[in-house]
Symmetry: C2
Subunit: 357 residues, 2 copies
C-alpha cells in the first residue's frame, strides 16, 4: 500500500469523524459549539519511550487515546471530542496505518468520543502520537490536584496498581512466566487459560509459551489500559483533589501532596493489586515496584471522611475496585505504611523522562 497524508486522512480517519464539528476532516479547523466549562488535556506517546516498538499497533492506538481519556475522567468529566496528531515512522509499513485507524476508531466509539481534527505526517524517527481530548465536566466543579484537605480520606478507583508494570516486565522478558506461576494453583490457572485462549489475540501470547490468562491480563493492563468512564461520576460528586495515576502511585500521590500543601499516608495493604501481583510480591517480589512502576491509569482522589458511605454506595456494584487507601495529614510528602503502621522506605522512582543531552 502506498499512502500519502491526504489519502490517509480521507480514507482512514474521516469515516470516524462523523460529528458536524469535524467538518469531515476536510477543513483546516474543527468548529465546536461549546457552552460552559470544557476540560482540555493532551498527551504524547513515543515508540521506545512510552511503548515498545514490538507492541501491536492496535493497542498503541488504544493507549494513545486512553491515556488522555484517563486524564479527563480523573477531572470528573465525560470525554467528547479528540484531535489526533499521528507522526508515522518512515520505517513502518504504510499498511499498518489502516489497522491503527480501525483500532483508534473502535476505541473512539467505545468511549463516545468524536474525532474532530488532527494532523498526519511522517518522521524519520519513531512513531509518535499526540492526542488532545476535550471533555465536559459532569458537575459544576472540576477537582484539581491542589484541593486536598487535612483529615480527608485518600481513595483509588478504576482498577489495580502495578499490573501494568508487571505486564511490561513480562513483555520485556524481565520476568518470566515461570516466575509468575510461582505459588499459584496451576489446575485453576490452566483451566482459566483454556477457557479464555480461544478469544484472545495473538499478541497476548508470550514467546514460545501458551496463552496464560493471568499473564494476558497483566500485559493488557500495560498495552491498552482498562479505563473506566464510570469513575467520572463518583469523582465529580465527591472528590476534593483528584488526578489519574500514570507515573506511579507514590509519585502521583506526591503531586497531590505538593500541590495541596499536605502529606498523604497510604496503607499498602489497602492498595488494590491483582491476584497475580499479590502472589508475585508475597513470593519475593518487591512490592515497592508495584507502587512506583507507572502506567496504571486508575484514579486517585481525596474526599471528606463523612462521605465514606455515600462514596461506597455510589460505586455500587460496578466493580470499579474502589479502595480507601489512606488519609491526608498535615505536613508534606507521601508515607507508605505496612500492616503494623511501620513506614516502608520508598525512593521516588516516578517516571520523569530526562530531556535532551
Amino acid at each position: 500500500m502506498s499512502a500519502d497524508e491526504f489519502s490517509v486522512i480521507r480514507d482512514l480517519f474521516a469515516p470516524h469523524a462523523t460529528n458536524e464539528a469535524a467538518r469531515a476532516l476536510r477543513d483546516d479547523a474543527a468548529v465546536l459549539e461549546a457552552s460552559g466549562k470544557l476540560v482540555v488535556t493532551t498527551d504524547t506517546i513515543v515508540e521506545g519511550v512510552h511503548f515498545l516498538a514490538v507492541d501491536p499497533i492496535e493497542t498503541v492506538a488504544m493507549k494513545a487515546l486512553r491515556v488522555n481519556v484517563s486524564d479527563v475522567i480523573a477531572k470528573g468529566a465525560r470525554p467528547v471530542a479528540a484531535l489526533l496528531n499521528l507522526v508515522w515512522s518512515d520505517a513502518r509499513p504504510a499498511a499498518e496505518i489502516a489497522t491503527f485507524a480501525e483500532a483508534f476508531g473502535r476505541d473512539l466509539k467505545l468511549f463516545g468520543v468524536n474525532l474532530i481534527g488532527g494532523d498526519t505526517t511522517s518522521t524519520p524517527g519513531p512513531l509518535t502520537i499526540s492526542v488532545t481530548l476535550l471533555g465536559e465536566p459532569l458537575g459544576s466543579r472540576v477537582p484539581a490536584r491542589g484541593d486536598a484537605q487535612v483529615g480527608e480520606d485518600v481513595w483509588l478507583i478504576g482498577g489495580e496498581i502495578g499490573s501494568a508494570w508487571l505486564g511490561l516486565q513480562l513483555r520485556k522478558g524481565e520476568i518470566g512466566l515461570a516466575r509468575l506461576r510461582e505459588g499459584r494453583d496451576e489446575v485453576q490457572a490452566q483451566a482459566d487459560s483454556r477457557a479464555l485462549s480461544q478469544s484472545m489475540p495473538d499478541y497476548l501470547k508470550l514467546a514460545n509459551e501458551d496463552f496464560d490468562a493471568e499473564a494476558a491480563w497483566l500485559m493488557t493492563a500495560y498495552l491498552a489500559p482498562f479505563v473506566r468512564p464510570e469513575c467520572a461520576s463518583v469523582i465529580s460528586k465527591f472528590a476534593s483533589a483528584s488526578m489519574d495515576v500514570s507515573d506511579g502511585l507514590v509519585t502521583d500521590a506526591g503531586k497531590i501532596a505538593d500541590a495541596s500543601g499536605v502529606a498523604l499516608r497510604i496503607a499498602i495493604n489497602a492498595v488494590p493489586f491483582s491476584i497475580a501481583a499479590e502472589r508475585w510480591a508475597f513470593s519475593g517480589g518487591d512490592v515497592r515496584k508495584l507502587i512506583t512502576g507507572g502506567d496504571d491509569y486508575v484514579m486517585l482522589f481525596t474526599a471528606p471522611s463523612e462521605l465514606r458511605g455515600a462514596i461506597e454506595a455510589a460505586e455500587g456494584s460496578q466493580a470499579l475496585r474502589l479502595a480507601r487507601i489512606g488519609v491526608v495529614e498535615a505536613g508534606g510528602g507521601v508515607t507508605v505504611v505496612d500492616a503494623n503502621g511501620q513506614a516502608i522506605p520508598v525512593a521516588d522512582a516516578g517516571y520523569s523522562h530526562k530531556l535532551g543531552r
Copy 2:
C-alpha cells in the same frame, strides 16, 4: 543543564501559562470557560521534514505556533489558547529547551494566546512539536473550504507567495546569494543591508556571506512565517470559502475547488510576490516553483464580486498585501493563466508527505 519533564514544565513553561484556565500547568487538564463557537486546529512539525535540523531553535518555536495561528486566522477567528506537545530529541542539548520556551512565550504574547496545557517528553528521534490552538470566531459564520460559489473572486491576503520557498533554497544552498543578486541594483541592496544588519540575528546571515537584506527577508519567511492576525477580520466579514496556503498556492486552491465543486482560475500576474522573487523569476527562475513551493502561510479566500470595494476598504492601509488573484468558475481544478490568458501548465507539486514504507 540537566532537565526532566517536570522541572521543564514548572520552570520554563508555567511562567507563560498565567491564564486561570491553565491551572499554572500544575494539573492534568486545563479548564476552559467557553460559550458559543470555538475553532480548534492542530499541526505538527518534525525536524528534517518541516524544518531543518540546523534551523535556529527560536524560529522553530515560532513556526510551531504560527502554522497553527495561520489556520485559526484563515477561519476568521482570533487565537486564544494553546496546548504544546514538545517531544524533545535526546540528541539536542537540554539547555536549548529554555531558549525554545522563551521564544515560544514571546510569540504567545505577540499573538495574544494563553498557554493552557501540554506535554513534554523525550524521543530518540528528531525534535517533534505539536501545537493545538483554540480560537474564537470574530463573526457568526466560520468559512469552510467548501463554500466557494461560481462567479466569486479569489483573493489572497496576509503576505507573499513563494518567499518561503526561496528562503528555504537559500538555507539549503540550492540557490546561492550570487543568483539572488542577479539583475538587482547593488548600491541600493547594499545600503538596505547595511541599514538592517546591526539589528539582525546571526542566523539570518548566510554562511561565509555578509548579511543581505533580501536574503534575510526570504529566509525569515521560511523560518518564522509572518502571520498577520488582522486578516481574520476581513475574512470573517467577507469570505465565502477560506483556508491558509501552506502546501503551495496551486495545491491549496485545488482543495477549495474540490471541496466546493468548482474551478479556480488564477492570474499569475496578480499573485503577490516579493521583489526578490519577481526578479529571480524574470531572470530565469521557474515561477511555477513559487506557486507550488509551500510554507507561505497567507490566506486564500473567495468572495462575491460585489464586495470588491468593501474588501479593499476593509484592508485599508494595513499593508496586508491584499490581492484579487482570480475567479471561481464552473468545473473543477485550478488553472493558472499568464498575462495573455494562456494557461501555464502546472503539475500539482503540492506537499503531501508520503507515509511509511
